[in-house]
């Protein structure tokens, strides 16, 4: 993990996105002696596989008749370990700027900077961002009374909190913010929770003691003015509408993917996908490549298998971009002692 000192780290390649394709790119680049830093807004590797379907089986990974999303992620992490990739999680890539010497400065939303010779966009369907719950008029309260994540707990001090959801985020923040909030109400659709049983039990004990409230139901509307929330209309499971007083709302409705800042980097886009060629998977900006679900070209299939192929070809093109004069000798991992040394086998 990086520190927050805005310091400029230097590396050969910055990979934006630690989904399966970004991860495998570390391997292909590593075989060509290129060191990688990966940046992802999620708190762990695996992209869609880890976030959307960790336990579901994938049947079309060559030589793996069946493997789960998390299983595939774990295997990839094991496979790339010899190359010591540096991960920066919980970071959104905000900007990519070309320098006079042809290198790039990649900036995160925490204003950290990483200098790299090549940038690989492996951003998949875009960065994972909290889903806006389908409550009419919620936009008017966002960032003043409604927050989708907790950046600074101070923001919630002394407030009447309404936390919505039944997963780990909802339960964890309920327990963590209770000591500093004026009051906490946890709202969930039903009396069954996806969150870890331990946190659910803790929450229920607090409700029992009268330290917080648990309300079963769904939000149908919000009341307040000038961005300041005063209460939420909640439809209970019996169909009654009750008014829950609150000054801050934290909805946890899962994540969705949004293209985000990539749209502003001057790259040729086609329906929110980055256009590349099929020889190098290069974008219109020399030194910036795009692989995996984020790219598009004639015949593109959004498959993990295709992303892996793209990573291999891209790596050779990236190596040529960095060392135009070096001759790349094509080698097999099975027989090349040089490659095996890099892999530590």
């Amino acid at each position: 993990m990086s520190d927050k000192s805005n310091s400029i780290a230097e590396t050969d390649v910055v990979i934006i996105g630690a989904g399966p394709v970004g991860l495998f790119a570390v391997f292909e680049l590593g075989l060509l002696d290129l060191k990688c830093h990966l940046i992802d807004i999620l708190d762990r590797p695996g992209g869609q596989c880890a976030e959307l379907y960790p336990e579901k089986p994938i049947y079309d990974i060559p030589a793996w008749p069946e493997i789960s999303g998390q299983g595939l992620t774990d295997r990839l992490m094991e496979q790339i370990a010899p190359f010591d990739p540096v991960f920066h999680f919980n970071r959104m890539v905000a900007g990519v700027e070309k320098q006079d010497d042809g290198s790039f400065i990649v900036t995160t939303d925490e204003d950290e900077k990483i200098k790299a010779k090549v940038v690989v966009i492996a951003a998949g369907g875009g960065s994972f961002q909290p889903k806006r719950p389908p409550v009419p008029g919620i936009e008017a309260f966002e960032d003043t009374s409604v927050f989708y994540s907790v950046r600074r707990t101070e923001e919630f001090k002394g407030h009447d909190l309404l936390i919505i959801g039944g997963g780990d985020s909802a339960l964890d923040w309920t327990l963590n913010l209770l000591p500093i909030a004026n009051s906490v109400t946890l709202l969930h659709r039903r009396d069954a929770f996806r969150a870890a049983p331990d946190s659910v039990n803790k929450m229920k004990a607090l409700v029992e003691k009268g330290d917080m409230s648990l309300q079963l139901g769904q939000v149908t509307g919000l009341n307040g003015s000038d961005g300041q929330i005063e209460s939420a209309n909640v439809k209970t499971s019996d169909g009654d509408i009750v008014d829950v007083k609150c000054t801050r709302i934290l909805p946890f409705f899962g994540l969705t993917m949004k293209l985000g800042p990539i749209a502003d980097w001057g790259l040729n886009l086609n329906e929110n996908l980055v256009s590349v060629d099929t020889e190098k998977f290069a974008t219109n900006e020399p030194g910036i490549f795009a692989i995996g679900d984020i790219n598009t070209y004639p015949g593109k299939l959004k498959l993990i298998l295709s992303g892996f192929h793209e990573a291999a070809l891209m790596a050779h093109a990236a190596k040529k971009h960095i060392d135009p004069d070096e001759r790349i000798v094509f080698q097999y991992t099975t027989s090349s002692t040089k490659l095996q040394k890099k892999l530590g086998v």
């Binding site: 959307l52 379907y53 579901k56 889903k131 719950p133 389908p134 959801g165 039944g166 997963g167 969930h188 659709r189 039903r190 069954a192 996806r194 769904q218 149908t220 439809k235 409705f253 899962g254």
Partner: protein
């Protein structure tokens, strides 16, 4: 082939012939029923294929499994008859099934 009727939110009726073994979501997409998005392609990972099963059919369609219930938490205006249509498999038993499309997806 079993027949399925979709009632769009504006009241428009879509009657389609569905193959056994396909899902109620797949038939909606194939026939461009408005209001069914199915972002995740049927993996029970998005909750954008939410429908209300007509009361007369809830017994036959059965109730959601735990994973589907978890996903329904993210849907809008969930009711006792709510289901994710990608998790309902078409069988001869469901010939005549009626489902309503909600006002909006998550």
């Amino acid at each position: 082939m079993p027949k399925i009727t979709y009632l769009a939110h504006d009241g428009t009726k879509f009657e389609v012939d569905a193959e056994n073994g396909s899902t109620v979501m797949e038939n909606a997409i194939k026939n461009s029923v408005p209001g069914i998005e199915a972002e995740c392609g049927g993996a029970c990972a998005c909750a954008t294929c939410h429908v209300y099963v007509d009361e007369a059919w809830t017994e036959k369609t059965g109730s959601p499994e735990a994973m589907e219930e978890d996903m329904l938490d993210f849907a809008y205006d969930v009711q006792p008859t709510s289901r994710l249509s990608c998790q309902i498999k078409v069988t001869d038993d469901l010939d005549g099934l009626v489902v309503k499309v909600p006002e909006r997806q998550a």
